[in-house]
């Protein structure tokens, strides 16, 4: 599936028979496409033409105009779904037909954007059995566990099914255990962890999974610690594989987001509390207006709210600092622990390994720039250590010399708190 060169062009050069076949194929595609587009101009959507377009797509699924043509043709059929009777049957048949067609195309070419897109469109019509989709997608991921189209489609299906993030997390974990050189599976994991701990169900008021790290509730430290453990297993198994290191960077970002979250969240609480209180009061007042108890109820709410607000404002002055300090200590401890792990577990055995060195440099730089290492002198020492690490990397990995040079000069934006990355 991966790392195999395509032999097609070489073969074409050498083999006149293959050239002839190729020419025939190109002609068939050209003629077919021209024909379908001709009918499209006339807004003709006969079954025979749909059939021809299907045959064309089986040969070459990447001509998205053809898929568009099919969607145009079928949109009216699907629009009748739900009306019952014969029309209902036609919509179901169309759905099944498109699923079968995309399935056939994907078997040939499992990485065709247009085909996956078309299948999503069909499934979104609501007539496809989702369990079967999930089964198919699991099979596709057994075939090629790094097919990101399939991963994306899986997320789409799971959303539609309302499958729990926990279930999907264990599915993804199994895939990672099978082979951790899999960016897609790790990426899937980042999304699921955010869904589980930072979604609307979490403490973050309305922070959607799409928001930046600083706006979300951070993933709890104990969850992150388990992830750190897992990823260190991967480092020990094969430190040269990049994907766990990239995931690790995401983990560190989430640890750091505890810092910014504290600041922002505390500020936000103050504003949000008052805003919510006002809104509630207004709503309640409106709702109960005209009723006998309205006045007293309203007053009660106002009174309670005002008291709460006062208490919050008074308490926050002291609590905010204490809490923030505790949060900083915790984050600082995690970073220090991780730096020690990299040194003891990995660099002690392989002192010149690129990824542990780079990751250690980033950790040191983050510690220094965020002032997490205690005194300013300590921070300066850590920054110096980071610089020397970048310098060493420039020697060890000359191909990326410029990249490390930028980092050394502090231009790598190693701490981008808004994105939660180091």
């Amino acid at each position: 599936m991966h790392g195999r060169p395509r032999e097609y062009k070489n073969k074409l050069k050498a083999d006149p028979k293959a050239q002839e076949g190729y020419k025939k194929k190109v002609d068939a595609i050209r003629n077919g496409t021209a024909l379908v587009l001709e009918y499209r101009k006339q807004r003709k959507y006969d079954p025979a033409i749909l059939d021809a377009s299907a045959k064309l797509l089986k040969v070459v699924p990447e001509i998205y105009t053809l898929w568009n043509y099919r969607r145009e043709a079928l949109e009216p059929v699907f629009a009748t779904a739900g009306s019952g009777g014969a029309a209902e049957g036609a919509a179901q048949r169309a759905s099944d037909g498109e699923l079968a067609l995309t399935h056939a195309c994907l078997m040939e070419n499992p990485k065709s954007y247009s085909t996956w897109h078309h299948r999503k469109w069909v499934v979104a019509k609501g007539l496809a059995p989702l369990e079967r989709e999930l089964h198919l997608i699991s099979k596709a991921l057994d075939e090629d566990q790094r097919n990101f189209h399939a991963w994306n489609y899986r997320m789409f299906i799971c959303r539609r099914m309302g499958r729990s993030a926990q279930d999907e997390l264990s599915y993804g974990e199994e895939k990672i255990l099978q082979n951790f050189s899999n960016y897609s599976a790790w990426h899937f994991r980042t999304i699921l962890l955010h869904q589980m701990y930072c979604g609307p169900g979490g403490a973050g008021a309305g922070a959607a999974a799409g928001g930046s790290a600083s706006q979300r509730t951070p993933i709890p430290h104990d969850v992150l610690d388990q992830e750190y453990d897992m990823v260190h297993q991967a480092f020990a198994t094969d430190a040269r594989d990049e994907s766990p290191w990239v995931y690790y960077r995401w983990l560190v970002g989430n640890t750091l987001s505890h810092l910014t979250h504290h600041k922002l969240a505390l500020k936000a609480t103050a504003t949000a509390t008052s805003a919510t209180a006002t809104a509630t009061a207004t709503a309640t007042a409106t709702a109960v207006a005209g009723e006998a108890v309205s006045a007293s109820s309203s007053e009660l709410v106002d009174a309670t709210d005002a008291a709460a607000r006062d208490a919050a404002v008074e308490g926050e002055e002291g609590a905010e600092e204490e809490e923030e300090e505790a949060g900083r200590v915790r984050v600082a401890a995690v970073l220090e622990r991780e730096a020690a792990r990299l040194l003891e577990d990995h660099l002690a055995a392989e002192p010149d390994a690129k990824w542990p060195l780079l990751t250690l440099a980033r950790l040191r730089e983050a510690q220094a720039r965020l002032g997490l290492a205690g005194s300013p002198e300590d921070c300066e020492a850590l920054l110096e250590e980071a610089r020397s690490l970048y310098g060493r990397l420039m020697v060890l990995d000359p191909m990326r010399r410029g990249f490390y040079q930028d980092a050394l000069e502090g231009r790598a934006f190693v701490v981008v708190s808004a994105l939660g990355t180091v």
Binding site: G21, K24, K25, A28, I29, N31, G32, L35, E38, A48, I49, D51, A52, K55, L56, K58, V59, S164, Q166, D167, E168, S170, Y171, E174, L177, Q178, N179, F180, H232, Q233, A234, F235, A236, T237, D238, A239, D345, H346, A349, E350
Partner: protein, 775 residues
Amino acid sequence: MAWTITPSKFDVVVIGSGLPECLVAASLLKAGRDVLIIDAVDTYGTDFASFTPAALDDAIVQQQQQLTSHAAAVSETSRYVPAPVPSGEEHEHSMPKCSSISEPVPPGCRLLRLRQRALPVSDIHAFAAPGERGGPGDRRGYILDLVPKLVYQSEPLVDLLVHCRCHHYLEFKAVEGSYILQDGGIHPVPAGRADIFRDRRLSLSDKRVLMRFIQGCVEARGGQGHLKDVLASSQPLAQILAAEGLSPRLRQVILYGIAMCDSDQEPTPAAVAADNGITAADADAAAAVGGVMTGAGGGAALDLFTTSQGRFGHEAAFMVPSYGSGSVAEAFVRLCAVHGAVTILRQPVQALLVMEVKEAVAAVAAASDNGAGSVLSHNNGGGDDADRLNGSDGGAASSTAACSCVGIVTAAGQVVRCKTVVAGTGTISCLEDVLSPSAPPPPYVSRAIVVLDGPLLPAPHGSAAQPQPVPKSLLTMVVPPHSDGLALEGQASETAVAAWAAAGSTGIGNPHPVRVLQEGASTCVCPAGRFLLYLSTPATSSSSYDDLWNTLAKLTDTTDLREVRSPACPSASATSSSSNISTAAANVNTSTSTKIYTDGDGDGDGDDNNCAVVNTTDKHPATDSAATSSSSPTPRTRPRALRAWFYRQPVQHRMVPAIAGAAAGGAAEALAYQLPVGVLQLPGPDGGLAGYSQVLEATKAAYRAAFPGVQWLAEATFGRHGAGGAEGDEEEEGIGGDNGDGGPAPAPAVEEAEEDAAIDELTSAVARLQGGQGV
């Protein structure tokens, strides 16, 4: 017998249908020879055969009767007595009676008798739980292998199967897991990247060291990396591993779980002292299965393992054929039949026809004039020959060396002439008076076949990805030497723990690794819900039972097993060994069950006269209570052993790859016998559980020596369409395991044809539409 084999003259007669015999037969057929394959029983496989429980039990009885009668015959008349047919039902392994020779022995010829044997193994002890014997499953429920084998996915035999198109006759299942008994538990062998990553038993540094070593092996294969020199050296592999910084536990993983060493690679000083002081048996046993593995041998073994991993999908390095390992030999028999071999079953060979060398030269000329068999005269009576053969050992041995084999005599008494007789070592060992007086006894492995009522490993905990997990059915496990045994799971009850402690928590005490193979219904060798367990280890003690009982008792619940004794075996050795075993079994029973099983030897012996074949169980008062105790609500953490057969099998010396050549190993083996000219001795089974390479190599070496310049099976060409391709079909094929992807992947031609069809369909659809547009 009324019928005779026609023609009665062949280039080659192959006695028995074991794997080596069939490989040679197929090679000779492809080289244009006439070949007769003749087997004493109804099924193929000979030393490599698979049995049903009924056939195995009957064969055991038969063997014991033979031993008895043979001993009697030797002592009384010193004349050959044909094997008696057991009075019981006939089955696929029963042998027909030998008739006296129907034709006179030709002039200048004499007979070299071939003893019949029911089983190529010895020291058999059968056990069964009450009510487990005699069911319909005995006849068709199980397939039991005499030589169970794990097949490496990329070993030469697999390529040979594909080359000969024999893979069409077979179905393989990938082995689902490879385990090692360590730290008191059964753990997966961390053999690949994914296993190492997920194994939380390994520390981070363990992981790094292990991966570094495995990567070093891969690099060494390409002639690079830090291990390339040591992995080509004769330094012991264990030392190399230690130098690489692998802990003892990781060394066990590599030595026994990946390199598949079958003997102790790191003997403790105490064990060494014991070897030197007391017995050479241990050293012999170790040598039988390879002895100390060298760096070069280890490099080859690790290479074979890693290239096998995932060759046919999954991560497994091994696979196992469905319907028993006997099906591999059977596939080659079929190949022989397709290429024109005459195959006769249920026809034992009772003797070889041999001729003094000086007369043989003349006879060959005569035989070429007349049809074989027509030159027979009345000169020399068979009895004289037999007398001469049995007369003096030394004389017979020297005379066999100076004679030449010119044919065989079937059980029906027919003489079949041939230039060459091919037979496995097991068959050869039944030839009378060919064993060199100075020949050392062959090395043995002890094996056990066990029927279980559940899998060795429970199903994993359910997960979202797999809501109803299924326990693994097809798996292999190794118990490293001097194992500490198995601790119970945390949830085990106190009584179970007590029973455990009583059963001997001091460890298994195995001097050499014990290999384990579990098969289930997935390979069609036993009914659903039942499992077969194969154990094997180099034979070191006086009995197969002693070599393996401890391991079996640790892995399974053996409370219900009772020895099955044959009534018709009054021979001294059999009686004494069986009484020892009863005592041992009773000891174990006492300790693992609250009820004391009181069956001593006396009781069992008293019953013997009444039992037709064997059953000690129905008559014992203790039986029922024992069964009850085992079905009490005590949580069972181990599967129950329902039946067990222990036996010893003579094996070939294992050749150490790249140190001793294949030919050298063959020569050493051949020295044990002084065979007539024209008899080709082929290797018997080897002692290892993993791989047929040794058998294949030794067979090929013997073939090369006997037929120099004649093409070997792998060099023959086979047609594109199955094994039945015409002889002259020269078409070469691109399929094979050599392109890295491996496996019988669909040929590119097929894919191209599919695409062409799609394009044609498109073209015609477009043409139709264009036509419509035109109108």
